[in-house]
Symmetry: C2
Subunit: 441 residues, 2 copies
């Protein structure tokens, strides 16, 4: 069995929480084990991420609560207005809501009637708007779960490599939860992104090189004694981290009145989010929280980084890596780890994977803003743009209930829309000038 | 009696809603009349903002719900997770939640234990974090109410003058609620702010001049036939608009378990927010929703625009205008309309008005970020900085429950912190370099 021992138990009683040097004492609620997604082998809960037999990715296996689903719904409804209302379904201790954390989630599910009219959707169109999270992206969900795993394993430093949203989410959550953070970024990021990563007061290290160099460096650090006691949220804590995306599935169904949507449009970067939303939906069915019925999952990529979409359309099972070149930088993962699983899910559920080009991304950002007053990140432009394209292609049924994800905030990708977004007119301060501009009505 | 007739009833059945050309049919829920804050004269509900007898400011007078407070609490708890849960206490129709609007509010009240430790607060410190609103500032609250007033009065265009937060809030709410918007800004705003104002697709007009010129132009427009059918959210809709700030008081008390906080620290720009929060607290007491007890209200300003703070400390009743010069631009109103009322309230409740300089604002932004993971706008730096200063001066009692407002988002004022916020180190991608940088532990 395979729990990597955590050696920094001396530091255990910091604000980050008490250490669990003995894996047997780890309390992560209903999480029972890690299980390999390829060969099914099970491992004790610990900071490991790859199967020791086949190197497949590990995910959390649960002893989910048995009993009357109506009781569970009541228990959830009585919980806090954040992801911890779903603690019985997550790898977190039962008293998680009393621990300091960033408490993301329960973001708005916006009934998007104006957008529905424009797209011709008649069956009910919703935007799940994760820009309402504490650092304004869905990353707060996954990081919040990683924080609790880090606490359980006695880690004292939280880390990640990042070019954007993740750095801010880790910095903010670490600050509040009482961890030290040390985040690695390419040294030449734009100043705005550096500020968002640095403001929370953790260590921020610019690495002289590109994002690949940063990742390579982090891999070395994890394997070195220098990295002992470090929780890299999306590497050695990845199995837990990933589970945070399930909360999107839970919230969508609860906000729809404990009903499965017919269709979901989800952005694909590594593919993890899409696979975990599918996992979450299946859990809700298994628990009897929603009635079982078919649902279709659609993946959305940017044309400039569309390895999964290309594979889907070519009928391939294998995803061929691409060198990303798109304004949708938060989706720009050229070699997506969960790509094959995304293909499986899209095909199994009768969905699809599609992509849109940068111009369509910008158009879709503006469409969502002018119809629903939601200013989305480029990733939100990708999902809205892909939704439109899928309807036009007859792949997404406009008569069915559809949920489109917006995973981030337009304030973070102003550059994408700035060149084409400006005043209608510029005039001197006089009524005559205003009348001449033709804007009075 | 004094309801300015709305002449655009021909356009009444737009997406914006049906017009109410006859003031008698205006349904704004419990709002019964407008009443002059100076002389008390009452007027029928309408798009007017100044007393026709004494030119004093008008505010909404209510027929508030009678009955068992516990029943009202239950009714509120059963409402939506936004400001419309308080519809029985707001100038909006009872079915407001079913109308398209931006639906702000019910933002997090964060128990700020880390910050409390740093500041020496032992009685419970909370940050009311309005960066979680749809366009990430408290302005969404006031604009959402103005939208319903505009709908009731049959207006079809929403407008305002703005240099920042308000433009985005009006643009977003108008887009979703089905109004045309036309917003006026100084022509030389930074590109980021222009994008945030323009992205929602309304008309955005750059005025060649400074903010005073923009305001003068808007005043002319309101008085001209060109402006017929236009609702200027903070001018002819101001009495309704202002009521949106009451929801901060309601939420804070409900989130504390229907208990009044002992002390509140509130930013002061025009002063409207502070006065309306006080109004909201008094309503809760009158309705029996909270137990009556003393509370102290503290106003917070930036030193570079501190007319109310200066008057408070000098013991004056009159506020002498200042020419603003501060990084806290969202508070930079040199001649605050509600300044004298702020002085009254601070003195009546045993509070104070204090200011901090720009360096202290930046320090406080960083303090809040590194303790609680909340990245505040400069206005949030002002309230946190003033809280620290008031504690040091012995004016704010650290043994009492204290709520500090953060009314906006740090992403909108990156420039304020950028010069002093950056990487801890920049290194080549090697473990040796990392070791040498002294960051491993």
């Amino acid at each position: 069995m395979a729990v990597q021992t955590v050696s920094n138990t001396d530091n255990a009683t910091t604000a980050a929480g008490s250490a669990a040097s003995d894996a047997g004492t780890v309390d992560l609620g209903p999480a029972a084990a890690l299980s390999c997604r390829e060969c099914g082998e099970r491992f004790e809960l610990g900071p490991i991420f790859a199967c020791q037999s086949c190197f497949g990715p590990l995910e959390v296996a649960y002893d989910l609560p048995a009993g009357d689903p109506e009781d569970l719904k009541k228990r959830i409804a009585a919980g806090p207005d954040n992801i911890w209302r779903y603690a019985p379904l997550l790898p977190v201790p039962a008293d998680v809501a009393s621990k300091p954390n960033i408490n993301p989630g329960f973001t708005k599910l916006v009934k998007a009637d104006n957008l529905a009219r424009e797209l011709g959707v008649t069956g009910g169109l919703y935007v799940k708007d994760d820009s309402g999270n504490p650092t304004h992206s869905f990353k707060d969900r996954v990081v919040a779960i990683a924080v609790e795993a880090a606490r359980a394993f006695g880690f004292t430093t939280l880390s990640c490599s990042s070019t954007g949203n993740l750095a801010g989410a880790v910095g903010a959550a670490a600050a509040r939860a009482g961890f030290r953070s040390c985040v690695f970024i390419p040294h030449d990021l734009e100043q705005g992104k550096v500020v968002m990563a640095a403001i929370y007061g953790g260590e921020l290290v610019g690495i002289e090189g590109n994002y690949d160099d940063v990742n390579r460096f982090c891999s070395e650090l994890i394997g070195d004694p220098l990295g002992e006691g470090w929780g890299f949220v999306n590497v050695n804590l990845r199995p837990y981290y990933g589970e945070g995306s399930k909360t999107l599935a839970y919230e969508i169904c609860e906000q729809l009145g404990w009903v499965l949507p017919d269709q979901l449009v989800i952005p694909v970067a590594s593919g993890s989010q899409l696979t975990k939303i599918d996992k979450g939906l299946k859990e809700l069915i298994a628990l009897g929280l929603v009635e079982d019925k078919p649902y279709k999952i659609f993946g959305a990529q940017a044309e400039g980084c569309s390895p999964v979409s290309v594979a889907f359309k070519a009928g391939h099972d294998v995803v061929r890596p691409q060198k990303p070149n798109t304004i949708a930088k938060s989706l720009a993962i050229g070699n997506p780890a969960d790509g094959p699983y995304v293909l499986d899910i899209a095909r199994r559920t009768g969905g699809a994977v599609e992509d849109v080009n940068d111009e369509q991304v910008v158009d879709a950002i503006k469409l969502l803003a002018r119809t629903e007053g939601i200013f989305a990140e480029t990733a939100g432009g990708v999902t809205v743009g892909v939704t439109r394209k899928l309807i036009e292609a007859g792949l997404l049924d406009p008569a069915l209930t559809t949920v489109v994800l917006n995973t981030g905030d337009g304030l973070k990708t102003l550059d994408a829309v700035a060149p084409t977004t400006g005043p209608t007119a510029t005039i001197p301060p006089s009524l005559d000038a205003f009348r001449a501009a033709g804007l009075a009505r």
